[in-house]
């Protein structure tokens, strides 16, 4: 999890890869419709979104669960000229596209862009409807992985995925276990008006950006011990969590705007929304970020207050947290939330240890 993208290996492979890349580049450059060419994955920040996070497929999902896969595929094929409506990751994807167009204006030859991949275990025949829907909204998604029923986890690395968003918590857990940043997305009941000029991403701290080492202390020994511990180890950086690399990737792109004097007009803004309090346990967090060479635009210490109302004001395109309690609170007040199933927080609900394992469909 320390590398943004792993390094390339054999030289012979490189030759084939270069040829493929050159062919694709030539192909896109020759298109009459001037579709922006997708970036070289080795340099890009690759976001893989599932079909159910990109689009609202609740009704279709019901058919799959109640009538089986054959009926489901037949239904999708029958309705393939009807575009699907947007899902929870839709605003996030649009915001990514906006950042890309700003980056392309400032750095026309750079491959350091967002690369958006549709990553689904749907069958290829459903793909036609998905492609039609993407066309309908004019989304710049040129890469697809539709595995026809196999789990997409194995394919995430093949597409050099940096962040995977899905509605299926099992897949998300699998991705995190493979060392890939991932989160389960939840759609809020009401729509929130989000910025269309700036990508806004909010992160919880412990067990999201940082490891769950401090969470463990709270759960096992209580808050007082936690405060003492954090003060004592204020200068020792926390270990990194599953979303640290994604924040790092965002920071790298932000600096490209700063280099061109666009800091005041930067189309990426990051937020830390943590239950820690500034006075007693906040310093360690800020010092850890500094030691990693990472910046976060706004750090909000809630000292245990609910996150929902604050997130309502921030209006992020996505909010990452490891505790379902916070996810639910945020969602209720209209924030698009993404659960990161990592660390000790998964065994607890509202501070109490969950006795039985939660049932998963």
């Amino acid at each position: 999890m320390s590398e943004i993208k792993p390094e390339e290996t054999a030289a012979a492979k490189d030759n084939n890869e270069d040829q493929d890349w050159a062919a694709a580049k030539a192909f896109f450059d020759s298109l009459k419709t001037k579709v922006p060419r997708p970036p070289k994955p080795q340099y890009a920040v690759t976001i893989a979104v599932s079909s159910r996070t990109l689009f609202n497929m609740v009704a279709e999902r019901k058919i799959y669960e109640e009538e089986g896969v054959e009926k489901y595929v037949a239904f999708q094929v029958e309705h393939e000229n009807e575009p699907l409506s947007p899902g929870p990751a839709f605003p996030f994807v649009k915001a990514l596209m906006n950042v890309n167009s700003r980056l392309r204006q400032l750095y026309p030859d750079s491959e350091e862009l967002f690369d958006i991949v549709l990553m689904t275990n749907n069958h290829a025949q459903v793909g036609v409807r998905l492609i039609n829907s993407i066309n309908h909204y004019g989304l710049t998604i040129e890469r697809f992985c539709m595995t026809g029923g196999q789990s997409p986890i194995g394919y995430l690395k093949a597409y050099m995925t940096n962040l995977y968003l899905s509605k299926d918590s099992e897949k998300v857990t699998g991705a995190i276990e493979e060392g890939i940043a991932a989160a389960t997305m939840f759609m809020p009941p009401s729509e929130c008006e989000l910025s269309d000029t700036q990508l806004r991403v909010a992160f919880d701290g412990d067990a999201v950006l940082f490891s769950d080492e401090s969470e463990i202390i709270v759960k096992k020994h209580g808050l007082d011990t936690f405060f003492e511990h954090e003060k004592e180890f204020e200068n020792k950086p926390l270990a990194q969590g599953p979303l640290k690399c994604f924040l790092e990737a965002l920071g790298k792109l932000q600096r490209k705007f700063y280099a061109k004097d666009e800091r005041m007009n930067c189309p990426i803004r990051t937020f830390l929304v943590t239950a820690r309090s500034a006075a007693s346990s906040g310093a360690r967090v800020l010092k850890t970020l500094r030691s990693w060479g990472l910046e976060i635009d706004e750090a909000l210490f809630l000292a245990g207050a609910p996150k929902g109302p604050l997130l309502q004001k921030i209006k992020p395109h996505i909010f990452f947290d490891d505790q379902m309690f916070h996810i639910e609170g945020a969602k209720e007040l209209g924030t698009i939330s993404a659960h990161v199933p990592y660390g000790i927080g998964q065994k607890y609900h509202k501070g109490k240890l969950i006795e039985q394992p939660a049932e998963k469909k």
């Binding site: 493929d20 890349w21 062919a23 694709a24 070289k40 054959e70 025949q125 040129e142 697809f144 539709m146």
Partner: protein, 266 residues
């Protein structure tokens, strides 16, 4: 004489219906290992094409299970493509029978005669481990593909070796058979038959998996190719649109038995 091609039936195997079966020719060099015969049995050891033959057997078994009178089956024939192997007909026959391979016929031909042999005998797919042979046969209008080396540690879950076919849209490959409209007929027919076999099975219980890989194009190509294949009767199972991203990782994951360029389908 070198110019004589002899055709020998494998009497261990029930012959398939010549009008309906899909004839797949596999080279002897792809099926048997180079080197001396096994000391004890006097037969050759199996090589790269063996998993393909097993997968084909599985497809045929599943087809017959659904319909014992099924005539749209895959008919594998073994072909020699050089004069050395052409002379070794008895070892080839005994090795094939020893391993119980479902090969229907043997074509004993040489470098000069094998392509004509393929054309005259209505071979719908030619599989070899030699790039040159594949290229030559393609250029003469015989749908051809290279047999893939397969790894043992595939992470894709195969239930008992399904037949995995990778169709790709490749914008830079050398002139394939089907760049001329007149020579599109055979490859198209082969795909259509493959599609028909696939249709005998449901969405998730098929012993034949057809993957579509768009190597260089993007979304528009992907959508068009899916629809074009569909109108040919080929319902692809999974699709990967790479738009120039590296394809080797995908190759390791999918582990196809062979890859076939379908750029001509539109």
């Amino acid at each position: 004489m070198d110019n004589m091609v002899s055709v020998v039936l494998n009497t261990d195997v029930k012959q398939k219906d010549a009008d309906s079966a899909v004839v797949v020719a596999v080279t002897s060099r792809a099926l048997f290992e180079q080197g001396p015969e096994d000391d004890e049995t006097g037969v050759w050891k199996l090589s790269r094409a063996f998993p393909l033959l097993q997968a084909v057997q599985k497809v045929n078994d599943c087809l017959l299970e659904k319909n014992p009178a099924e005539s749209l089956l895959l008919d594998v024939i073994l072909i020699t493509t050089d004069s050395q192997h052409q002379q070794l007909s008895s070892v080839l026959i005994s090795s094939t029978r020893h391993h119980g391979l479902g090969v229907g016929k043997f074509f004993f031909s040489s470098e000069e005669t094998f392509i004509d042999c393929l054309l005259e005998n209505n071979v719908q797919l030619f599989l070899s481990t030699s790039k040159d042979e594949v290229l030559m046969a393609s250029q003469k209008g015989v749908p051809s593909a290279l047999l893939e080396a397969r790894k043992n540690d595939s992470s894709v879950q195969c239930q008992r070796e399904d037949l995995r076919v990778w169709l790709h849209e490749d914008l830079i490959s050398p002139c394939d058979s089907a760049s001329q409209p007149s020579s599109r007929h055979s490859p198209q027919r082969f795909l259509a038959q493959l599609g028909e076999i696939r249709q005998r099975f449901g969405v998730s219980d098929s012993p034949l998996w057809i993957s579509l890989v768009i190597l260089h194009g993007g979304r528009e190509n992907c959508g068009n190719r899916l629809k074009a294949l569909r109108s040919l009767g080929v319902s692809v199972d999974d699709v990967y649109c790479l738009a120039g991203a590296p394809s080797d990782p995908l190759l390791s994951l999918l582990q196809p038995h062979f890859r076939f360029n379908c750029s001509f389908v539109n």
